[in-house]
C-alpha cells in the first residue's frame, strides 16, 4: 500500500485535484478524503482544498454545514482546450516527443487486453486483493 501521507505537498495537491475531477458532483472534504482511500488526515485534505481554493484552482459552494468543492473551469478555456487537444491528436502519437500513458489500440490489441484483464481478475487470490478498495469504481462496464 502506498503511503500517500508522506508525499511532497505538490503530489498531494495533484491527488486531491484528480479526485475532484474524477467525481461528477462537488465533493466535501470528508468525501475527498474517502475517495483518496482514507489514507490522508481529514485536516490535511481540508488544508489542501483551502490552498487550491485560494489559488483559484477549485471553486466551492455551501453544502449543508460544509463547503463542497469542484474544479474551476472557464467555459472559454474549456473550448480552447478541446481545440488545442484535437490539434495534438492530429499528430502521429507514435512519433511525438510526448510520452503518452497509453498508445492507441488496434482491434486485436483490444481483444487481447480484455482477455488479460479478465484473467488477472479471475486469478486474483484473496490474499492479494488490495483491489477490493475499488468499490467506488466509476466504470460500470465490467461487472465483478
Amino acid at each position: 500500500m502506498t503511503d500517500i501521507a508522506r508525499r511532497p505537498a505538490g503530489e498531494l495537491e495533484a491527488a486531491v485535484l484528480a479526485a475532484l475531477w474524477a467525481a461528477h458532483t462537488p465533493l466535501t472534504p470528508p468525501q475527498v478524503q474517502q475517495s483518496l482511500g482514507g489514507t490522508l488526515a481529514r485536516t490535511t485534505v481540508a488544508t489542501i482544498l483551502a490552498r487550491l481554493y485560494d489559488k483559484g484552482t477549485v471553486v466551492r459552494s455551501r453544502s449543508g454545514r460544509a463547503y463542497a468543492y469542484t474544479p474551476a473551469v472557464e467555459d472559454e478555456a474549456a473550448l480552447a482546450a478541446r481545440r488545442m487537444h484535437s490539434e495534438l491528436e492530429k499528430g502521429d502519437d507514435r512519433n511525438g516527443v510526448l510520452a503518452r500513458f497509453v498508445s492507441r489500440l488496434s482491434p486485436d490489441d483490444e481483444r487481447v487486453l480484455r482477455l488479460l484483464l479478465a484473467q488477472a481478475d479471475a486469478s486474483r487470490t484473496p490474499a492479494a486483493t488490495t483491489a477490493s478498495t475499488r468499490k467506488g469504481s466509476p466504470e460500470p462496464r465490467r461487472p465483478r
Binding site: G10, A14, V16, P71, V73, A78, E89, D92, V112, T130
Partner: protein, 331 residues
C-alpha cells in the same frame, strides 16, 4: 580507407536487429539506455563516415586540393574515393542535416504547443487537468515537468489507478525520458536504418515507467489493470479524434506492457536466453568496428593529405597498419 569508411554506414543494418533482440531480454531501464546509446553512437559514426567520404571526394577537385596546398595528381593517385562518391556522400549529409533540423523543429513545436495548452488550465502540484471528455494522459517535459491528464481519463479510473497513472508519468519526467526519445529520433534522421530503434525504445521507456509506478504503488497487478483500463478508455474516445493511421494489426505495445506487469516480478531474462550473449557480442562488435573504422578512415585521409602536401612520410603509426584498406602509397 576503402572498406574502413564504409563499415560504419553498413553497421546499423546488423546492429539494429541485434540491439532490438537484446533489449527484449533486458530489464526495461537497461534496455532503453542500450537502445538510445546504440542509436546515438551508430548515428555519430555513420555521419563521421559520410563526412570523410565527402572530404576525400572533394579533395580530388584540383581547386580544393590547391586550397589545401596539395598536389592534385598525387591526391588523385593515393585517394581511393572518387568524386561522384564524394558528391553522393555530400548529398546524403545535406539530406541528413535537413532532416535533423526538421525533426528538432517538430519536437520543439510539439512541446511548445502542449505547454501552451497546459498553461491555460488550472493545475495543482505537478498536475494539469484538461477539461476534455476524451481519455488521454502524457508527461510534458520542462522545468519543472508537468503531468497532463484529461478529465475523461480521470473519470475512467478509480483512486488507486489514478495514483498509478500519476506515478507512471512522474517516472517519465524524473528519468527525462523525452531526451532519449529525441536522441533516437535525431539518430534516425542521420541514418535511416536506425529508425528501427525508435519503436522498441518507446516500448521499453513505457515499461520502465510502468515498473517505477508499480514500485511506487506497491502493486503490479493494480498497475497492469490501470494501464489496461486506461488504454480501453482511450480507445472509447470519439472516433473523430482517433488517428486512423495509428491502428496497426499486430500485437501492440499496451497488451505486452500489461502482460509483463502480470508476470511475477521484473527481471532480466538475459541469463535465461543462451543466444543473448552472442547477440550482445554482435552488437558490441558492430559498434566497436564502426568506431575503429571511422578512426582508421580518418587516419588514412589525414595520411593522404599529408602525402599530397609533400610532407615527409614519417607516419610510423600509419605504416604499421596491416589492414588491406589502403592501396594509397605511390610506388
Amino acid at each position: 580507407m576503402t572498406w574502413a569508411v564504409w563499415a560504419p554506414l553498413l553497421a546499423p543494418l546488423l546492429a539494429v536487429p541485434a540491439a532490438r533482440r537484446l533489449a527484449d531480454v533486458l530489464a526495461p531501464r537497461t534496455a532503453a539506455l542500450l537502445l538510445a546509446a546504440t542509436a546515438a553512437m551508430l548515428a555519430l559514426l555513420s555521419t563521421g563516415s559520410l563526412a570523410l567520404l565527402t572530404a576525400a571526394g572533394l579533395l580530388r577537385l584540383p581547386v580544393i586540393a590547391a586550397l589545401g596546398h596539395m598536389s592534385a595528381p598525387l591526391m588523385r593517385r593515393s585517394n581511393p574515393i572518387y568524386l561522384p562518391i564524394g558528391a553522393l556522400a555530400a548529398l546524403a549529409l545535406a539530406v541528413a542535416a535537413y532532416a535533423v533540423c526538421r525533426a528538432a523543429r517538430r519536437h520543439r513545436t510539439d512541446l511548445l504547443r502542449a505547454a501552451s495548452t497546459a498553461e491555460r488550465h488550472g493545475g495543482a502540484g505537478d498536475l494539469t487537468v484538461l477539461p476534455d471528455p476524451g481519455a488521454d494522459a502524457y508527461a510534458l517535459p520542462g522545468r519543472p515537468g508537468r503531468v497532463v491528464v484529461t478529465a475523461g481519463m480521470l473519470r475512467k479510473l478509480d483512486a488507486r489507478e489514478r495514483e498509478v497513472l500519476l506515478a507512471h508519468e512522474r517516472a517519465h519526467l524524473r528519468g527525462r525520458h523525452h531526451l532519449l526519445i529525441i536522441c533516437a529520433d535525431l539518430a534516425a534522421c542521420l541514418h535511416p536504418a536506425l529508425s528501427g530503434l525508435r519503436a522498441p525504445l518507446s516500448f521499453h521507456l513505457e515499461r520502465w515507467a510502468d515498473e517505477s509506478a508499480a514500485a511506487a504503488v506497491g502493486d503490479r497487478r493494480l498497475t497492469a489493470r490501470a494501464v489496461g483500463r486506461a488504454a480501453l478508455a482511450a480507445s472509447d474516445a470519439p472516433a473523430a479524434q482517433r488517428p486512423a493511421a495509428a491502428l496497426a494489426a499486430s500485437a501492440g505495445p499496451v497488451p505486452r506492457r500489461v502482460a509483463a506487469l502480470l508476470e511475477t516480478a521484473p527481471r532480466s531474462r538475459f541469463n535465461a536466453l543462451r543466444p543473448a550473449a552472442a547477440i550482445a557480442a554482435v552488437l558490441v562488435a558492430c559498434v566497436v568496428a564502426s568506431g575503429v573504422s571511422t578512426l582508421e578512415a580518418a587516419d588514412d585521409l589525414h595520411a593522404n593529405i599529408e602525402l599530397a602536401q609533400g610532407a615527409p612520410l614519417d607516419h610510423p603509426h600509419h605504416h604499421s597498419h596491416s589492414f588491406p584498406s589502403l592501396p594509397s602509397f605511390p610506388e
